[in-house]
Symmetry: none
Subunit: 213 residues, 4 copies
């Protein structure tokens, strides 16, 4: 869940890595601020304080830069969330930790999460020729699916389609950055509490004395 690629961090010099990191961060901030399709190489370079050409020197093209942004933020978010989730011992607890850690990450690094959502929903993925959106989709859903399956087996969750429920939860979470940008006064703690309760109710076993219409 945590490390994504270790492929060639050795083949790059330290300064090379530092520059790439700097550029990726500038890209994140630029995308978060002006939106994905307005984040040109020039604007990213300006924010990084470097020339346009240097970005092309360190990245094969815009696609690689965007892909790196996605990978970096996703990996970083996963590294942030993983210990909080792992600290829980039950699937239900882990689900709550998943929600909590995800929103905490958004609170801590709003630009990163906004940038990620911008790319994922703003057409950025289709600009990445080597990326399979379906594969990325499955990768996003898999942890939740595994969590749900475990919880169903232990009886903590009711019987539902784990993939659909994973999409439901991702949908709820992915709506948060947009909600935050549209309503800046939104209380993220309250939001988290409401979401957690709602998801809890949606997943927990149905009491035996319940009639469905």
């Amino acid at each position: 869940m945590v490390p994504v690629t270790e492929h060639d961090s050795q083949s790059r010099s330290f300064i090379e890595e530092a520059r790439r990191t700097q550029i990726v961060h500038a890209a994140v901030e630029t995308i978060a601020e002006v939106g994905y399709h307005r984040a040109s190489m020039g604007r990213i370079g300006t924010r990084a304080g470097i020339s346009r050409g240097l970005i092309s020197y360190h990245f094969a093209g815009k696609a690689e830069l965007i892909a790196q942004v996605v990978t970096t933020v996703y990996t970083d978010a996963a590294a942030f969330m993983a210990p909080m989730i792992a600290a829980e011992t039950t699937p239900a607890g882990q689900l709550r930790a998943y929600l909590r850690s995800n929103l905490e990450y958004m609170r801590a690094y709003p630009a990163r999460m906004i940038a990620l959502v911008e790319i994922l929903t703003g057409g950025g993925l289709s600009d990445l020729p080597d990326t399979d959106p379906a594969a990325f989709d499955r990768q996003m859903l898999l942890p939740l699916e595994q969590l749900f399956t475990a919880g169903q087996e232990s009886g903590e969750f009711r019987d539902f389609d784990v993939t659909v429920m994973a999409r439901i939860v991702r949908g709820v979470i992915d709506a948060v950055p947009t909600a935050l940008s549209r309503d800046p006064g939104l209380d993220i703690d309250r939001y988290l509490r409401e979401i957690t309760t709602a998801v809890d109710h949606a997943t927990r076993p149905v009491p035996s004395t319940t009639e469905e219409p």
Copy 2:
């Protein structure tokens, strides 16, 4: 003399209206297919089988065209959903009808819904100078909020923040087009059933003999 057909005074604007509709439809399909920020006037014109200039002839600018797409799809979806919701007599039933009609609309006109979501999440709203994203946000949430408030007063819904719950439901629904495009084999009926059940559980009153962690 002038009028040729029996349409008389409307025959003048009939062609105009037809063309506008045709262009809006071409825009919808183009946006749904290639994404909002790749849907140039040229591509839309090509899909409509007309020249670039003709779009500018019928629409003052791209902003007006996109605004028309948003308005058209939104209005059309509302007209599609409204009777299905109104047919229900209870807030809980209306909520289920809201979900069902929304997904039915997506099934019937997937391109329209994909295009709308592309524009709303893909930075399109900020390209519309006269549009207030926050106002649009409230407009989207309002029907759900009213529905929830009514349900809480009637005791059909538990006590939750109606705005947050509205955002939750919208988040779940807005994730559907993406899910459909990423997983074409997705069974929309099953999806709808699962969503309905989940939202039902998330909103209904908590049985008295329940302990919260």
Copy 3:
């Protein structure tokens, strides 16, 4: 407005002539208001209250319309000025009448004169393929040249190059519309008085007891 051309006024119907006149007037007003190179056929048509296509129906192209504007205004101004000049019996008096009648025309029909100057100085002439700017130039200068030659022969004017002096006088007059637009508070009567005096001094015979430096 006086009949301008009689070459084919017979071949055009009355309504045809009326339309052409209306369009020419709309062109004059549009050019005077927004400048020559912003005066599109569309804007001219809008001001005339007719469709774009109708202008093309009545004029072979924009060039013919502009040429007609030039011809109309020039002829109209000449018809306005001619009797005032003819009423004077001496070349010096006619020169003063030339200046006075020209500025009176500007005061009476500022839009026409502004439009004419816009076209002549704003590159409009070079848009007219069939027009020889040099010939137009000579046509503009000829009356003044004849006037000066007559005055020199009668001893009312000193000995100067009549063509250059004609250009001088035209230069002074053609600067008036720009001056009026740049300084709206300009007193045209005072302007006329100063110009008349200056031109009078510049053209009259030098007193015998005059030393040149």
Copy 4:
């Protein structure tokens, strides 16, 4: 007119400056040849032998380029004329030097002067958002007004409205480029002599034994 050989530490911006100068010169020549409103970025680029995009790289927009053309030519002309005027000790001599140096500049750099007049009279000024035509107007007239006022105080000039006389002189001078382009065989030396004499007569004190009609 700009110092050229100083590169060294300025060598970084030297290329930049050289390109800007080259582009400005290409713009001057293009405007002088085809007129202001036909001088597109493409044509200017073609004349400069560079791509369209490079102009946008060096100038923020067409407005900045045109403004630079105006500033460059105006400053250049002023630098050319100033020493010739300053060499004269009397207002009347300075006025003659003003005329002479201005026409000498036109003879030396006809394209520049034609371009400037094209922009000023061809609607170019109104395309420059930050420019106040009235202020530019006053700036053009001021030196002449000051010169006239000094001459009136010293008794070298008669009593006339200095602003109107400044407009008269500018009108006479501004008519020269058009005259040159319409009549290529025009003898500029003779033109200058005639103009100088005419302006001299128009401004000098009236001999006491003069009768006005």
